[in-house]
């Protein structure tokens, strides 16, 4: 099945989802991007360059780790983990960003802009911009700037300008809007590095294409290491890029694909970011594309929540909306509380620190592994590492020593200033 074969349907549509809903002023830019992307996709050399860049700069291929301890402890399926946390900058975000960097070069543009929530995509983009020599602006909700200062610190030191967005909820979705505003002004020399498989066509397809490297590697590695394909593959779903990335390796196989969304405070709480696992989202059009959004009856977006900033988003990529309708991907939610427990378990049992986002995939896998046979195999995508999120994780785990360390550090800084 090629989900990106539009010859039978409308270009850029996955079932009824997707499309391009952009101001007229951007139509030429998005068309130019589409043309360039089609060229890149058709050019085997482009993909070779892309793979070489990731190998030499980001450490790809990332390995597959067999979690023997956790598998034994849970007593069911054998658990394997795809280690995209080992990428340069600490997550799968770098894959997409490096790909778009190459594409931006081909477009002949000298500036990049990007939205970021957790800061992970912004960090990756700032890194890429430093490497490629692009001018770089990162839009980030003011709330996120305040709570994700470590990433802001690195972005700035990598030479990016970080702009705190003071509108709306001052989080990810508002940063996306602000990026659009920059883009409609500066499209002549600026490429918008969208961070996930969302937004107007061709972004969902393009980001999925770059991320497909995860699944390509993983399929081959599973065959080599475990001797066969996994029965189930788990990935967390924010916008859906890491999940699309790994799932694409197994689309044509008899492998069950499970996306794990931000369950936040749980079903019925209206404090979550589960667009597909829960029943609260409806189809709408915003931020350039049509998909399931967490919105009210009038089409205004609801507040969302997840302990993982990278999952805390109103929409989901249109491909998943379609695959969900078709029953080709199953969606589950992991609540904040479950995520904290799974994180602790994973750290102690295997010495891995998945990002809070990735831990959502672990939660669902950990729930299901014991119900499976010992001869069955599951694969989890560890999209990122958690050690970049120490503030968030320390807060989540309510660590008293951490808090007193921060208190002491603050006192030290104040004393220095006097």
């Amino acid at each position: 099945m090629d989900i990106f074969d539009f010859s039978e349907g409308r270009e850029g549509y996955y079932g009824e989802y997707g499309g391009v809903f952009l101001p007229e002023i951007l139509q030429a830019t998005i068309e130019e991007l589409l043309v360039c992307f089609r060229e890149c996709k058709a050019d085997p050399k482009f993909w070779q360059d892309y793979v070489a860049l990731l190998q030499n700069y980001s450490g790809r291929p990332t390995p597959i780790t067999h979690l023997e301890n956790l598998s034994r402890k849970l007593g069911g399926a054998q658990i394997y983990v795809k280690r995209d946390d080992l990428n340069h900058t600490g997550s799968h975000k770098i894959n997409n960003v490096m790909g778009q960097g190459l594409l931006c070069q081909r477009l002949g543009k000298s500036k990049v802009i990007a939205e970021t929530g957790a800061g992970q995509h912004g960090f990756a983009t700032a890194t890429m911009a430093a490497k490629f020599g692009f001018e770089c602006k990162i839009y980030m909700g003011a709330v996120d700037v305040a709570r994700q200062r470590p990433n802001v610190f690195w972005m700035e030191n990598l030479g990016a300008e970080v702009i705190a967005v003071e509108d709306g909820q001052k989080t990810l979705k508002d940063a996306v809007n602000e990026c659009m505003r920059d883009w409609v002004t500066n499209m002549a020399d600026t490429h918008y590095i969208l961070g996930t498989a969302c937004g107007p066509h061709p972004f969902p397809e393009m980001v999925s294409w770059f991320q497909s490297i995860i699944g390509l590697e993983a399929r081959e590695q599973m065959l080599k290491q475990a001797g066969r394909l996994p029965d189930r593959v788990y990935a967390c779903v924010g916008g859906g890029s890491n999940a699309m990335g790994i799932f694409q390796g197994f689309m044509d196989d008899d492998v069950e694909l499970i996306g794990s969304e931000g369950g936040g405070h749980g079903v019925g709480s209206y404090m979550h970011s589960s667009r597909l696992a829960y029943d609260d989202a409806t189809v709408g059009v915003a931020q350039g594309y049509k998909t399931y959004f967490l919105q009210n009856d009038e089409g205004n977006m609801n507040e969302t929540h997840s302990v993982a900033a990278g999952l805390d988003y109103i929409g989901v990529n249109p491909i998943f909306a379609h695959l969900h309708d078709q029953g080709k991907v199953r969606f589950e939610a992991a609540t904040d509380v479950e995520v904290k427990e799974a994180l602790k378990l994973t750290m102690r049992t295997e010495g891995l620190i998945p990002a809070l986002e990735s831990t959502h995939a672990f939660v669902t896998a950990i729930k299901e592994a014991p119900t499976m046979g010992k001869d069955q195999i599951i694969l989890i995508n560890q999209s990122g590492r958690g050690d970049k999120d120490i503030f968030t994780i320390a807060d989540a785990l309510d660590d008293a020593k951490w808090k007193s360390f921060i208190g002491g550090k603050a006192d030290q800084y104040r004393a220095e200033n006097n």
């Binding site: 809903f21 007229e24 977006m301």
Partner: protein, 255 residues
């Protein structure tokens, strides 16, 4: 009377019309009415009533905050339509719905068109809805006798201008420059050239907007465009100078 005929009629006595803008429910519907009162007095010809949306990605800071505040104070789509009904009944200018596509999409395109019509609106501007996605909405609008306002921009190619021109009806919104609403545009030869380009692809009247803030700006357009569209400048004036300020603003603008 349809939008295009209305413009044609008005243009018999004026060399350029003026379209103004309010964000429904911001600062409040009461203040909206006061603003509209002043606009009507000044002889404004058309008014866009913006239905607030949570993700106004084509708007500049002032309107973004206006959208946000309006929603915060509880503005609903239903209230906006009721307000439209009131306004179109009370004032001599024609009223257009302005907003984002999701508002129409969520209520259903049929219901949306019906409701605009019922509320006395002569058309709508949905800046994030490209023509590729508008076929059904345009058909429904035609059936109902209201006009979808199409945008033409400085980045639009001639090929695409031709496509846009072919489906344009009522009024074409010529976007004077790249960017979002709100910043100042240098009204000069570039804009006139753009109008000229657009004119070659459509026979419907051309409104020019984005950054118009003074009589001088309008003077540049006179003889080239049919409608001057004033948005942010008016809201800014209202915020800073209240009713007297706005009265003076329109008096000077339309002198």
């Amino acid at each position: 009377m349809g939008l295009q005929r209305f413009i044609a009629e008005r243009k018999q006595s004026k060399d350029i019309l003026v379209m103004a803008h309010v964000v429904c429910g911001y600062p409040s519907f009461e203040e909206n009415l006061q603003e509209l009162e002043i606009m009507a007095e000044a002889g404004v010809d058309l008014v866009e009533l913006q239905f607030p949306f949570s993700e106004p990605s084509a708007d500049g800071p002032l309107f973004v905050r206006a959208n946000e505040q309006s929603l915060k104070s509880g503005t609903t789509v239903d209230q906006c339509f009721e307000f439209m009904k009131l306004v179109s009944a009370r004032f001599p200018f024609k009223v257009l719905m302005m907003g984002y596509y999701n508002t129409a999409f969520k209520m259903g395109e049929e219901a949306f068109v019906k409701r605009v019509k019922e509320s006395g609106g002569v058309g709508y501007i949905l800046p994030d809805l490209p023509i590729e996605e508008s076929a059904k909405l345009h058909r429904l609008s035609e059936e109902a006798g209201i006009e979808p306002i199409i945008l033409m921009t400085p980045t639009t190619s001639d090929t695409r201008l031709a496509k846009l021109g072919a489906v344009s009806r009522g009024l074409v919104y010529v976007v004077a420059r790249k960017g979002v609403t709100g910043s100042k545009t240098q009204m000069g030869d570039d804009v006139l050239a753009l109008i000229e380009r657009c004119r070659q692809h459509t026979d419907v009247p051309l409104g020019v907007g984005f950054g118009i803030s003074s009589k001088a700006d309008i003077d540049v357009l006179r003889g080239h465009a049919d409608v001057a569209i004033v948005g942010t400048a008016a809201l800014k004036t209202w915020q800073e100078g209240g009713a007297p300020g706005l009265r003076q603003f329109f008096a000077e603008l339309m002198a």
